[in-house]
């Protein structure tokens, strides 16, 4: 292996950061000088300064040492990155072939115990072999990473084509959907459910010569089949939905995925139905602008009708898509054989291909280069923003009765949630009568800044981006989108006494975020799902609750406190969150108001808090921890413990 000098590595580090557009050339130059002068290694320097987050640094370090990441493979370039992993173009040395390699840092997985299960399932995925599935070559774990090696498919995704060029004609659309269904049918025979079917995971490449596909029809390759397993089952899919970390997925997920039910292949049929709708209409069957609205529409089953949005589509297509998108899975199309029959009997598909007006142009295939696929697009649709068009069309064509029904559904959903919160059997746990016996406490004099404006390495991103941000007056604050964890100190003071009772406080400005959560008191046993307490601050209210596992269903432990109306004249709208662990309870406050109380198990809880934001970034400031000790008032009998 080529051994580089420190200066050479440093130069390459910043050059790579610039080439990957992680930082500007100017900033890279300044950082390089500063790093040299301070004698700090570049990776440490950029992390400490908040210029790059840990995943960015990992990408650079990986590409700087391309043969050290996974034995037998040499990383060539970065292809993309997602919420959990990074995809590289790599060379498999022994076969001298180019492959795609997805790597996931194990410390970014919420539950280390799931790794073994993923490995078992990944082996099953690797056994699949089908022309409409991206072939998995290899899978393993090395130096803190999981890696998947896959066939390198350098086409565009259906998502990209829909975004850039609008919808294809009806025949082509069903041709693409049918191929995806063929891949999924093969997978379900091996008892594998994709769980994340969406246009972004349908890669389109030129069909090989001699393919039975109609001339010019792109070949579909289903991607991320194995990697979808990393999302860890239905509960985790819900997690992604609730945090908005994967923006696209909630739009395609089946209702049963959203409510945490077990998922089978019918969830993929539902997602394929949404994909078909999107492909045929150029837009999704929702008029909700937020994930919450989309979820509400899905759960209510009130999706737009295909021909409301795209009147030129045949009635038969509309009925088939509706049957695929049926909310109740027992009434949905039940299997792929039925789906194939229904597709094959559509007028747009059953008529001779030659007369189907399918026009494809494709560039001459070049070995190793991306093949470009073009097909007949609806230019009208392409020229209009899909979401706006959908909204306008749905609004314009939806009968008033249906609009009323939508409104009622939302209202009922809201009332149901309120009723559930108000009458939950858990509610009584925060009653005032339960407080007798809690000890008054005061700060001991020891504390620590959990965010000090300098060190970001102590904040471990779970997903999204976390960096130094600026508040409305230019103050340096923690800016975050997604999720992050922060270890808490275990000892206090110069005598290193165990830190048992303490207060954590912080200021939060929701900014663009729809909601944020402070999670605390996490169970330390990963096998239990790490149940945790949650202070959830959303624009519709503030509540203390408990989740059985990461982003599982939130069981309220308190009443819902109204979220203060934002001060429109203020540049920032900060709110104070405060949690206090006093002996066997957590006391939770929002803007000095008691939210509620939760049980605490000091010996069985992780010394850790987690922050999550939904649908945007929020600002966090003055995050501090203070040790609390029992308050002993002179000459006054203290409360009976």
């Amino acid at each position: 292996m080529h051994v580089q000098s420190g200066a050479e590595t440093k130069t390459e580090f910043f050059a790579l950061a610039t080439r990957l557009k992680m930082i500007s050339a100017e900033l890279a130059q300044a950082a390089s000088i500063e790093s040299t002068e301070s004698g700090t290694p570049p990776a440490q320097f950029v992390t400490e300064q908040g210029l790059l987050d840990a995943p960015d640094v990992d990408i650079i370090e990986s590409l700087l040492h391309p043969s050290d990441v996974v034995p037998g493979y040499e990383l060539m370039d970065l292809l993309g990155r997602g919420g959990m992993g990074v995809v590289y173009r790599a060379r498999q040395k022994n076969l001298d072939r180019m492959v795609a390699m997805k790597t996931v840092l194990l410390n970014r997985m919420s539950d280390p115990c799931d790794v073994a299960r993923f490995e078992q399932e990944a082996i099953a995925v690797a056994r699949l072999k089908h022309p409409n599935i991206v072939t998995a070559y290899d899978f393993g774990r090395h130096r803190g990473r999981l890696y998947f090696v896959m066939e390198l498919v350098e086409g565009e995704s259906l998502e990209q084509l829909l975004e850039q060029r609008g919808r294809p004609d009806e025949t082509t659309a069903w041709g693409l959907v049918r191929q995806a269904a063929a891949g999924l049918a093969h997978a379900v025979a091996a008892e594998i459910v994709h769980r994340d079917v969406k246009p972004a995971n349908l890669l389109l490449v030129s069909a090989p010569e001699g393919s039975p596909l109609p001339a010019g029809m792109p070949m579909v390759k289903l991607a991320d089949l194995g990697v979808a397993l990393l999302k860890g089952g239905s509960e985790s899919d819900t997690r992604i939905t609730m945090t908005g970390a994967t923006v696209g997925s909630p739009y395609y997920m089946a209702p049963e995925q959203l409510d945490g039910s077990d998922v089978d292949h019918r969830a993929d049929i539902y997602a394929l139905g949404i994909t078909a709708f999107r492909t045929l209409a150029g837009t999704a069957p929702f008029d909700g602008r937020t994930v919450a609205q989309v979820i509400a529409q899905k759960l209510s089953g009130q999706l737009a009708s295909l021909r409301d949005v795209a009147p030129d589509i045949s009635q038969e297509s509309e009925m088939l898509v509706a049957a695929m998108m049926e909310r109740d899975r027992s009434r949905r199309i039940q299997d792929y054989r039925t789906l194939f029959e229904r597709i094959d009997h559509l007028p747009a598909v059953s008529r001779p291909v030659a007369s189907a007006a399918v026009q494809f142009q494709q560039s001459a295939p070049v070995h190793g280069a991306a093949s470009t696929v073009e097909f007949a697009f609806d230019r009208t649709a392409a020229s209009e923003p899909a979401a706006d068009v959908a909204t306008q069309r749905i609004a314009a064509r939806m009968p008033w009765r249906r609009r009323l029904a939508y409104g009622l559904v939302f209202l009922l959903l809201g009332l149901s949630v309120m009723a559930w919160i108000c009458f939950s059997p858990w509610r009584g746990r925060s009653s005032a009568s339960a407080v007798v016996g809690d000890v008054n406490m005061v700060p001991s004099g020891w504390g620590q800044a959990l965010y000090d404006g300098s060190t970001l390495t102590v904040w471990s991103p779970i997903r999204g981006e976390w960096s130094h941000g600026r508040d409305a007056e230019g103050g340096k604050v923690l800016s975050g989108r997604g999720g992050v964890s922060r270890q808490l100190p275990q000892y206090a003071g110069s005598d290193d006494r165990p830190l048992r009772n303490f207060r954590i406080s912080m200021l939060v400005d929701l900014q663009q975020a729809a909601a944020m959560e402070l999670q605390f008191g996490l169970g330390s046993d990963p096998r239990s799902g790490m149940p945790r307490n949650v202070l959830r601050v959303a624009r519709d209210g503030v509540v203390l609750g408990r989740r059985g596992q990461d982003q599982g269903k939130l069981t309220p432990l308190s009443d819902l406190i109204p979220f203060p109306k934002p001060d429109a004249s203020a540049a920032a709208n900060y709110h104070e969150l405060c949690i206090e662990r006093r002996a066997n309870h957590w006391w939770v406050y929002f803007d000095d108001q008691v939210v509620g109380r939760a049980a605490s198990d000091p010996d069985g809880e992780l010394h850790e808090i987690r922050l999550f934001t939904e649908e945007g970034a929020a600002l966090f400031d003055s995050i501090e921890i203070v040790e609390l000790v029992e308050y002993k008032q002179p000459n006054v009998a203290k409360e009976t413990p």
Binding site: E34, S433, A449, R582, Q593
Partner: protein, 220 residues
Amino acid sequence: MKPRCPWSLGVMLLAASASSCGRSDSASGYPKRSPSGGYGSGYGAPVGRFVDDAKTNTQLDTDALALSFVSTGGTTVNLRDFRGSKNVVLVFTRGFPGFVCPNCSTQTSRLIANYDEFVQRDTEVVFVFPGDKSHLDEFLKSSKPAESYHKPVPFPIMLDQGFQAVDKLKIREDLAKPSTFILDKEGQVRFAYVGANSGDRPSIKALLSQLDAIQESAKE
């Protein structure tokens, strides 16, 4: 606007009792939220800081601000030197209570980010870091905005290692109470604000308003 805590109005109230911020405590029967540590803990509850409508809350003789400091560069700076040319915003941070005080670093980063606004108002910011200077670099590192971490702080940093200035102004606690003073070009004290806890400091907006008022009165 950040939420304000009722007790931030008086440190005496805080120091004298174990009262809390909780508004609903007594009525509901909930236990009181543990009181802030005020300055003593170094990390008092952050509510109440960066006050937009900060008003002078302490009486000072002009003589009390006849101060001189040694800058980090070793030069002696006398506040009288600014008379006739610049207004002065004199900012005392708390010092180093064993870690970087978040309120101090946020305030400092805001002063750095808005320094041009002060310059436009013929104003110099004089920033005082009381106590042991060995942690000054660490403090400034935490306070500089990420995009200008390699640049020097634009305003002079003064040391008060023996707390002489802090004691003269009677703003001593375990370290210093966060305090802000504005002197006009004639050396008159126009604004004096001593924070009731670590987080109780005037916002940038409050300081600029004070300076605008000074400029307006000078025109009259």
